[in-house]
Amino acid sequence: MENSIYLDEARDPLVIAEGWMKDGKDVAIATVVETWGSAPRPVGSHLVIDADGNFHGSVSGGCVEGAVVTEAIDVIDSGKARMLEFGVADETAWQVGLSCGGRIKVYVERLG
């Protein structure tokens, strides 16, 4: 579908988030807002998460999604947005990192 000119409704994270919202679920949206070095996903990429920890999309090549999902569930509970930073230097703080050596900043917010 990479060459499609229309939205891939079944896989598009923001479309999925809207669908979850219509189903009455609590949803968090994570967005890559900054990257340094060889980050696997570009600025603007989304991961969407529901309160049960289901998720779609990606903010890295699968390196930090687990940690983002955990944080997102807290954000759904508290309603307070968080800025997360991941990189090779953050291993002690996060215990997850980007094996590619890049660094990313991810903004996590509740939908609604």
């Binding site: 939205l7 809207e18 600025v43 603007g44 903004y107 917010e109 939908l111 609604g112």
Partner: protein
Amino acid sequence: MDPYALKTLNAERRARRAAILVTDLGDGRDRIVREGDQVAGDLGAAIAKAFRTGNSGSVEAEGRTFFLNAHLPRPRLVVIGAVHISQALAPMAKIAGYPVEIIDPRTAFATSERFPDIALHAEWPEDVLKRQPLDSYTALAAVTHDPKIDDFALKAALDANCFYVGALGSRKTHAKRVERLLALGATADQIARIHAPIGLDIGAASPAEIAVAVLAQTIHAFRSRGLDAKGAAA
């Protein structure tokens, strides 16, 4: 994120219209800005740049930090005419990141043998464009030389404000075409947007060289959107 902003954003994306989600990273407030909306100051300048480049990023303005997430429809190229030029143009445009569709009602031309792996419609433009309308993120190149096939599509491209409209033919051929388009109700301003003779002037001679010239002109038109006449996108 505001649920209404998400709904609006998805509606714009489905309709292949450009939109930017502007989020204040300090307080989390967000809003949707559509192409052509007036936003003042440094933030407005950053938004205009994001619409042009399609790049998302943070910007400092009014003592705050905003994140601009630019959602631009994927640009595409519609070619009227399954001719020799199109055989070179289609694969090159695809490689350059512009998905291609070819429309030509002449079934002898529009065959999958001549155009492997290319979206091909052996139908009249009138019929195809009714199902899949043109828009401002579509380029249209009319290369059949046949008014019966090209003219309707050219008029439709001008009405849909396609970011690029090109038509094959000499200046003499184009002069006659202009008269026909005026008769179809096109305005002089619209007609001035047609690139004819088609393609950047690189002295192209062979069909493949003309294809390079057309693709280069398409890319130039896309990357310089909104840099000239401000109202062109309105």
